[in-house]
Amino acid sequence: MSADTTFDLSHIRTKLAQARGRQYWRTFEELADTEEFRAFVHREFPQNASEWLDPVGRRGFLKLMGASLALAGATACTRQPDELIVPYVRQPENLIPGRPLYFATAMPFGAGALGLIVESHEGRPTKIEGNPDHPASLGATDAFAQGSVLQLYDPDRSTSITELGEIRPWSSFSQVMGRLHTERQAEQGAGLAFLTETVVSPTLASQLQQVLTDLPQAKWHQYEPVNQDNAYEGAKLAFGEVVDAQYKFDQAQVIVSLDADVLGGGPGSVRYARDFANGRRVRKANAEMNRLYVAEHAPSPTGAVADHRLPVRAGQIEAIARAIAGGLGGGAAATGAADIDKWIAAVVSDLQTHRGRSLVVAGAGQPPAVHAIAHAINQTLGNAGNTVVYTETVAPAPVNQLQSLRELVDDMNNGVVKLLVIMGGNPVYTAPADLHFADAMKKVPVRAHLGLYDDETAALCQWHVPETHYLEQWSDARAFDGTVSVVQPLILPLYRGRSAHEVAAIFMGRPDLTPYDAVREHWQGQPAFSGQDFDKAWRRAVHNGLIEGTAFTPKTVPASTALPPETPPRKAAGLEITFAPDPTIHDGRFANVGWLQELPKPLTTLTWDNVAMVAPSTAQRLGVSTEDVVEIEYRNRRVRAPIWVQAGHAPDAVSVHLGYGRTRAGRAAEGAGFDANSIRTADAPAIGFGAQLKPTGEKYRLAGTQGHFNMENRALVRPGTIEDFKAQPDFAKHMAHVPEKSLSLYPEYKYEGYAWGMSIDPTVCTGCASCVVACVAENNIAVVGKEQVLFGREMHWLRIDHYYQGDPDDPAIYNLPVLCQHCENAPCEVVCPVAATTHSPEGLNEMTYNRCVGTRYCSNNCPYKVRRFNFLLYSDWYTPSVKLVKNPDVTVRSRGVMEKCSYCVQRINHARQDAKVQGRPIRDGEIRTACQAACPTDAIVFGDINDPTTRVAQLKAEPHDYGLLAELNTRPRTSYLADISNPNPALGPARLHEGAEEHPQPALPSVPPAGTTERNSMKH
């Protein structure tokens, strides 16, 4: 949706001032209540979503229609074609066709790894789940892990080893590299350089170290754009040595995030989110919760769950951190700005009363000084050892990666490097523009690249070797806490790829060393296995997905509460510009994963693009609005980007995300977004100053989904404070009138066996969108592309709505995951003319695709707007490799049918069948829906509501449980808990609901109209 009017903040503010009570809004269009917006809301699907747009006249249309009908009718008369059964010759042990197997593995990612359990159907991995035994996962995953399985089957992955474009066998690569290795040996390795991403594999690190021992003049560089440089340098400043900080969110009662999206990304974020949420679940029995302060430049998942969010420029964070430290030391806590100082004073007093039980975290993009100040504050407060511990680094060879890349570029420019071996990564695309990496690289005589894709870097290398995906290789990786996770292959390499272990083996002079042997060899004789039968212990480690007892023990670091010297404030005319990894495609490595491209990015809900994100006030000052194309001029570099006005963004700053504007990434990434690396410089990789935005007068359509599926302004999200909860635990129930159960024309269903239901806790939902990708993967949900998303035709069964309240520049943010509510009085069921959507005896609202004729009456009648229609043939039925990722337990939908969340009915059926065969009832927790399983904060709970002992039944019995739009008498099976925050009374009202609020007048007539059922008449 786009309004062609310019952004008018004062109009919006006037509207807000006129609003009675607290007004919750999703988009600025909604807030401004423009004509376009009203027209948009009144349509079931956005304009043009249900129209035939091709320039075909009525006559042509009828001709086509007639021909299609005749042809479709005729083809329907054919019999089912013969199908083949192709049994095994020798069936593998434990494998039963039709029954998935589950294997433990791990996904190395950045400076960490996530332990996973992967579902495999007859040898093809289809679904990623978290490994409940793994400390980084505890059973949950992030969106990247969910999407990574599609990357395995990406048809655009490189498929062959090439030398100058000619296909070569591995043996010839191995021989050529072996020969060059021998040549370099003569010079002790001088001229040989390796470039890797962050290596978290102890085996690969030891392999490379062996190479460096043999060839002392050879160099190993590490670089990826999202790295730990600032954290390492900050630790050096604070402690004089490089250590990793490991947070214990479950121990912290007051948490202060200094521009750190710790819950939404980075090593350990999945675990951190769980620990954080555990300190925040408000229940009748335990009405206590932690308090989170976030100062950040752009809204993040962490900011969205904050009790007090302070939108400030990234460059202001250091002053704020310093002021907090000063305040704690009894000094002045002032930055000069009144509202910020008030916030700081509140933080300081809260921290002081929670010594040893508080935590200050610095963001990865923040300069080392901020990290050092955070360390100093934690030391001062006695948090070190309690809520934060310091360990050796997860990366076995920690380096300042930008420094490392700089050295490599210098060496290449000076002609020192004769052979460059790039193992993973895409530095030609990801390196800061001012290093001119590509030009420097061209000066190296022999360049070899190992990578998943024939990408920008591969194009400039003579040799390219397809890399194995992590689901195709043996390896190992350390998780955020040091736990060694075993990376186990689920499938043979699809394209005969090779892993970094194999390339490193060539330079070790052992080209025949397989990755499996390399990993085993490394661990044999390590202390983790001492005193055990190695084979047996190794098998156990592979089975469990991790090596027991390898988590780091905390290190004692010199306690230093001294603050680092002040960084002189950098002054430059123009805006502050921040570069951050994209929330869904990261640094561009997932650019060709359609699931992640189409995943609405947390808070912005953008798909398929990156933007220049600015605050509403900044947009007004600059006279730009969403979808205006501007030219970002920054340090004499220019890039054109569309504007996105984001509520809650810091004023006078612009944020851009990396990962877009790829030129050789594949069919999904093609043409998506702009390349932010082209203006990023090495001295300011994350935060820069002096950007100018120049409107070009052009427009660029952005596919944000925030305005789609609008439920209109009713009491959807029901926030309250912990004081509200203590004073009136059921305050949320009083925010809307729920009619009597019996008020229905239809006879009541009896649910005698199981009755499935779900409870969602928005208090802990960070809006990270891991559940959305998990749902896509589990239920074969199609990717529709940007053009279709613009029409509002995205197919996600589960969406996360973001609601804002208050001033557009500094709003309160609420997340609300919405999926099919499985109403007991479902409005959709009664309008289906062909009974394609029906009610099950267990209360599921079933969708039967093979019955659906596509009238779309059901979605027209759905107040939650959770039904999705296949306007076109969206599912990929033809790409051979993409067929492999499909879940065989779920029908792949074709054109013309409706679909929606099924509560993962395939999982319910499997559990029921297994329980029946074993002659027992289904146990609580046996069925976990895909969204529930993926959720890092355990915000979604599913189960049998007929059994009062189940978790879900207990949650539904909580006083602050409410049904979304239950005032329409839909009696939803999915219910929500009130969104509770824990504000500091010094910063705002302690209560949002004073006294018992009167709920609005019932929306339905209290007297049933004539002709209602006998039962109703009797009641009234």
Binding site: R90, I96, R99, H839, P841
Partner: protein, 216 residues
């Protein structure tokens, strides 16, 4: 001016209208019969298989239990089509040179799967589970017929939804004691109505007829 239509025209028109109605009715009736006919459902038709495997010989003659080959019938959705290895368990020792068995030996030798034509082929949007049916006392022969008398396996039932629902609505008509599930020559006793009702209760058979039982 002379009349254009003769006096019989009215009768022709009436007959024509009735004729069209009859024609449409016949067409619908024929389509309905066709849709249920073995030509559509493929019931009672033979399909040539790569190996002329005889269930009559192996089951009826030798007396091999269903589960020797269809190993996962009581544990999984699929009953399981035996791997070539299962055939070779015996045929590595008997009928070593039989030309009928050459495809089997070739499969084992070359490590290439046999490619059978699926006889019982449900549409892809139907999810059937063998293990539950076996557990609830549904005999193999209830759906598959007297396989022990089939030289070449064919589909006995229509496998159409109304056929499934026939049993799902009235399971007591077909249920048998669990120990007789694999018995090919099982005959329902005279008191099936009584036995059926008792077994439905004992086995806790739920008459599931909602869509998501099979479609998802």
């Amino acid at each position: 001016m002379a009349q254009i239509f003769s006096r019989y025209a009215n009768s022709y028109a009436k007959a024509g209208i009735i004729g069209v109605v009859i024609l449409v009715a016949v067409a619908f009736g024929a389509a309905d019969r066709l849709a249920r006919s073995p030509w559509m459902t493929r019931a009672d038709t033979f399909r040539e298989q790569p190996v002329q495997f005889s269930h009559q010989h192996h089951v009826g003659g030798i007396g091999i239990d269903c589960r020797y080959c269809h190993t996962s019938v009581d544990t999984a959705t699929s009953a399981g089509i035996p791997p070539t290895k299962t055939c070779m368990n015996c045929h590595a020792q008997i009928w070593l040179t039989s030309p009928y068995l050459e495809p089997v030996r070739a499969s084992f030798r070359d490590d290439t799967s046999l490619r059978w034509i699926r006889v019982h082929d449900l549409p892809d949007f139907v999810y059937f589970n063998h293990s539950v049916h076996v557990k609830k006392g549904m005999g193999c022969s209830t759906c598959h017929g007297r396989v022990d008398r089939m030289p070449l396996v064919y589909q006995r039932a229509s496998l159409q939804m109304e056929w499934c629902l026939g049993c799902h609505r009235n399971p007591e008509q077909y249920v048998r004691p669990r120990e007789a599930v694999y018995q090919m020559d099982y005959q329902p006793p005279d008191d099936q109505a009584e036995l059926g009702a008792r077994l439905v209760k004992e086995y806790d058979i739920k008459s599931l007829t909602n869509c998501s039982t099979c479609h998802r």
